[in-house]
């Protein structure tokens, strides 16, 4: 079955072709069904591959990865990039998440986009995205990963700007692509540095782009490559990851990306694409572990992003913006996990986050759909009575993200925080910041939940009359995801409970060899782990409690805080509301100066005045010289005769005097 892995990306690609070429002629009901079915088929194949892989690993645990070579893509000299897929536990897990959650979101889209005229275009892009994302996770080499990496970026661009007639939507799409390109710039430099480093090693015999060839070599020759090379490679790769996975300093595109249709936000900007950076760092963990300085950078950027965007999420009132900043924040946690060497924990959070964040977005989409594209939570409230399924599933997701046991988010977040504290690359400071951000997460998520579903209904009368639960094509995916968000955490129960950690065991072969040299079993005592776990739970509950009082039970509390802090509160609030003015800063420091320089200095002055001046100057000098000579052409014989005489005198005198 593993040899048929190419079927997984192939199905969505078929969907792209059918809907892309004939979608306009197909009946509307077929378009979405077909696109969903394609991803569904991919999911089925992925599941079969998963079981096949499990069986093979059980038979021989050294045999945990398989490469399926299709054809050579680019070759020139020693450079050879193949179209070849890699099936190992890590890529299989990602493949399952992408196709599984992807399938649910495709189905959900059928309902959400029911009144969209360009349905075929929508589903073509969505299938294309799935295809590209699968290339990204399945590629066995850096270059094929980069194909997927850029491909998902393209689909993100197309889908954010899906409603391209809206200026803000097409701006946001363009911004996403360009900011991602800045990351990609670093990423390809990292890939090239990798290639040129390895290809020049005398005893490296593999393909210098192929993941396992590279990693096996590094594991077998731990000192062949200087640390600074690894540091540089990893720093470049990580900068690429900050683009795709929306971390400081390149996170700015993700909040704007909410201009896209809501299922797109769920699929691309929450569950799958934005986790590509974490996947890539985990995939390259062998490199990163050899660059401990960069790991520290990863952890710090991760945790700082986590708290930074959590603070912004505290005050936003657009339901999707809150979720967007929340996503940035949660991605920060995943990087924190990777940064302290807990790659399994990072991937675990990728998985659980895919469940609950996709669910949150789809729940938000359900609300937005019912309220005719109203996104401001100040105009919502009390929806629990009108939309019970949406409400309950949203609540489950909220509890999950807040980190309240036993829902999934608790397990993955707690594992990250525990390693942040106890790992050899960890630090109590990282834990502390992570814990504070966790408190904020709980607070802003319950704020969102209470303001949307509880309290009095602030929806206008006209809309209120039509309020209804979404159709089952939308709610069934919600319920399935709610189930996953609730129980998904049980695959990764902490070791202190002495039950098998299924996820850890599954991923173990991928991470074991690389991490052996650096990591030992966490050295914290079981009692410490229990204590920190208890603190996590209390923090989450505290967030819930505070939000409940502020926004439901005792609004006076909130007013009291506000008046007590007075001026400070206003300044802080405004800063957060305006997202720390980062967009304005980038505009002022980068965008405007570049545009001005290009137009005024380079084009109008450089080309227009300097170069053209010289070129036309040469022409003018030529014309001028010609005219000078023309003056001599008088046509009078006498003048010529005089010239001849003068010339003769000069020549003769020259020879005489010589």
């Amino acid at each position: 079955m593993i040899n048929l892995v190419w079927l997984v990306p192939l199905f969505p690609l078929i969907g792209v072709f059918i809907n892309g070429f004939w979608g306009r002629k197909l009946p509307r009901s077929v378009i979405g069904g077909l696109a969903s079915a394609m991803v569904g088929l991919s999911f089925i194949v992925a599941v079969l591959i998963f079981f096949d892989l499990l069986r093979q690993i059980q038979a021989d645990h050294h045999h945990f990865y398989h490469e399926v070579h299709l054809f050579t893509w680019i070759s020139a000299g020693a450079f050879e990039a193949n179209i070849a897929f890699l099936v190992d536990p890590l890529s299989t897990l990602m493949m399952l998440v992408v196709t599984g959650v992807g399938f649910l979101i495709h189905v959900y889209s059928i309902g959400y986009m029911d009144d969209e005229p360009s349905l075929a275009r929508y589903f073509t892009y969505l299938n294309l995205f799935t295809f590209a994302m699968l290339l990204l996770v399945l590629g066995n080499n850096f270059l094929l990963m980069f194909v997927g990496w850029e491909g998902v970026g393209l689909c993100s661009y197309l889908l954010i700007g899906f409603w391209f007639e809206k200026q803000s939507a097409s701006d946001a799409g363009k911004k996403a692509f360009i900011v991602n390109r800045i990351g990609d710039f670093a990423f390809i430099l990292g890939v090239m540095l990798t290639f040129s480093t390895f290809v020049n090693l005398g005893d490296f015999e593999g393909n210098a782009l192929n993941f396992y060839d590279l990693f096996q070599y590094v594991i077998e020759h731990p000192t062949a490559i200087p640390t600074w090379t690894f540091s540089l490679i990893c720093l470049l790769l990580f900068l690429g990851a900050t683009g795709k996975s929306a971390q400081i300093p390149l996170y700015v595109w993700l909040p704007d990306a909410m201009e896209g249709p809501t299922p797109v936000s769920a699929l691309i900007h929450a569950a799958t694409m934005v986790t590509a950076g974490i996947y890539m760092v985990a995939r390259c963990h062998v490199f990163f572990l050899n660059a401990p300085d960069v790991l520290a950078v990863v952890a710090v950027i991760g945790v700082v992003t986590a708290i930074f965007s959590a603070t912004i999420a505290l005050v936003q009132t657009d339901i999707k913006k809150v979720l967007a900043y929340s996503t940035v924040s949660q991605l920060g946690y995943m990087f924190l996990g990777c940064g302290v060497g807990a790659f399994t924990a990072g991937i675990f959070h990728v998985m659980t986050h895919a469940f609950f964040k996709a669910l949150l977005f789809m729940g938000a989409g359900s609300v937005i759909h019912a309220l005719h594209h109203e996104q401001d939570i100040r105009n919502m409230g009390g929806l629990k009575d009108y939309m019970p399924k949406t409400r309950w599933t949203f609540l489950i997701a909220t509890i999950a993200i807040a980190g309240i046991p036993p829902l999934s988010g608790f397990f993955s977040k707690d594992e990250i925080l525990w390693y942040a504290f106890s790992s050899e690359f960890g630090h109590w400071g990282l834990w502390l910041i992570g814990a504070i951000a966790a408190f904020m997460t709980s607070f802003y998520m319950f704020r969102l939940y209470f303001l949307t579903f509880h309290g009095e209904c602030r929806v206008d009368h006209h809309t209120k009359a039509h309020l209804h639960e979404s159709p089952s094509v939308m709610t069934v995916p919600l319920i399935i995801l709610a189930f996953l968000a609730a129980v998904g955490g049980f695959v990764g129960i902490p070791h202190v409970f002495h039950v098998p950690n299924l996820l850890h065991d599954f991923l173990h072969p991928v991470f074991a060899e690389g991490t052996e040299r650096f990591m030992h079993e966490s050295h914290g005592a079981a009692s410490t782990e229990f204590l920190l776990m208890a603190i996590s739970v209390l923090i989450a509950l505290a967030g819930l409690f505070l939000a409940w009082n502020f926004y439901l039970k005792n609004p006076k509390w909130k007013e009291k805080y506000e008046s007590a802090l007075d001026g400070l509160y206003t300044v802080a609030y405004r800063t957060l509301w305006n997202k720390y003015y980062v967009d304005e800063l980038y505009d002022l420091v980068v965008v405007k100066p570049v545009r001005w320089t290009s137009e005024r200095v380079l084009w109008k002055f450089g080309d227009g005045v300097v170069i053209e001046g010289i070129v036309n100057g040469v022409a003018k000098v030529t014309v001028f010289t010609g005219q000078m000579f023309r003056l001599a052409q008088t046509g009078y014989i006498q003048n010529y005769a005089v010239s001849i005489v003068i010339g003769l005198i000069i020549v003769f005198s020259y020879f005489m005097l010589k």
Partner: protein, 503 residues
Amino acid sequence: MTGLPILTIITFLPLVGALFLLILPSHKGDLLRQAALTFATLTFLISLSLFFGYDATNTDMQFREFIPWITAFGINYHLGIDGISLLLILLTTVTMPVAILSSWTAITERIKAYMFVLLLLETAMIGVFVSLDLVLFYFFWEAMLIPMAFLIGIWGGENKIYAAYKFFLYTMAGSVLMLVAIIAMVYYGYTQLGKVTFDVLELYALDIPVNWQRWLFLGFFFAFAIKVPMFPFHTWLPDAHVQAPTAGSVILAGIMLKMGTYGFLRFSLGFFPDAAVSAIPYIATLSIIGIIYGALVAMVQPDLKKLVAYSSVSHLGFVMLGMFALNVQGISGSVMQMLNHGVSTGALFLLVGIIYERRHTRMISEFGGLTKQIPIFAVIFMIVTLSSIGLPGLNGFVGEFLILVGVFQEHAGYAAFAASGVILSAVYMLWMFQRVMFGKLENPANKLLKDINFREIIVLTPFIILIFWMGIYPKTFLDKMEPSVQKIVERVESRVDYWSQAK
């Protein structure tokens, strides 16, 4: 080589076609168009036999033809191609029918002269790629200028005379210096070999002292650098492009700019390897400036054609940089990028031409929101735009990435600067695309725009196929060129080793 003189046939078939047009009545527009198209298509079909007949395992010049001509001066009719010229010839023969078909309705005056000039141009361009004799080469090189200058000067836009002059004089100035260098080199060959020869392969064998090489390199440099055009010799290009008719722009960007890069590859590297090596820092610097400068200036252009013209400066900077990495990846990428640029930029000019024909303006500010009005055009435009910004899976990426890999191994700093072009190309292309195609359709003049018609789809099809083909399976092309590229690299390396040992 026995059998049919295939290179001669391919080179001169368009000329035969041009002469044939002369006997047709000038008022029968369609007949003239069809005749020209037939000849160009026939040339393309015959040139395919080169592709299938070319033996990539053999690194010698192939399909050689040798007829003594002016033997006293060692001037011969000597033709032959390697893997690199093979691909450039194919680019030429595939572009010409497209160019003719694209002018179907755009050109309504002096059709006979127009088609005549186009076919003449084709012969001259193919001639440049097949010549293995410097006199023959120079003849074709100069012969190219005249039809192109006419194309701009007669069928061009408002400021056509100025642009035609500028194009002609600018490139002519460079060529004259090359002529001097050719004569000087032949003279040196005479002192060394004891005979006068203009034969490229014989001159390759010369062992020219480095200080001679530097001067000769410089002589050739201006001719080629202007043609490429490298920064700062590029200012003729925006004018020529803006004024030229669509087909002129397509040919200019698609093929004629490659003459410069081809010249560097075939002659500058071939004859003067030592000088080439010592010129690396200068060429690389100019190329990198070209990449970044071209991109930044393209970004702020209000005119679509100027934007594409400046983007060419940027793309050709990549070609030059990759070539002077002087390793297999760099040069393969460079050749690949020549083809890519021909395809992508050719297609861009066609697309601009299509809306220009309908709206008689190329100002970006005149457009906006066209996607709703002309959806098929929008899809094709998007694909070409993405190909131009080097999206993996499409053609542009392959060349760009190989170039960067090649350059990175020699000088990581150059590659880092050049790679910033990857960001900038996304900026200027997507911003342009947004302003033209996205947003609301507000300008009433655009509300009558008709979508792309069947003929225009046919015109664009070859390029669209190539965009995907070269992006997904570039091996077809890389396999053909690799041995020839290898040969160039080995030659340069052997020289460099020789000199480093001599020290």
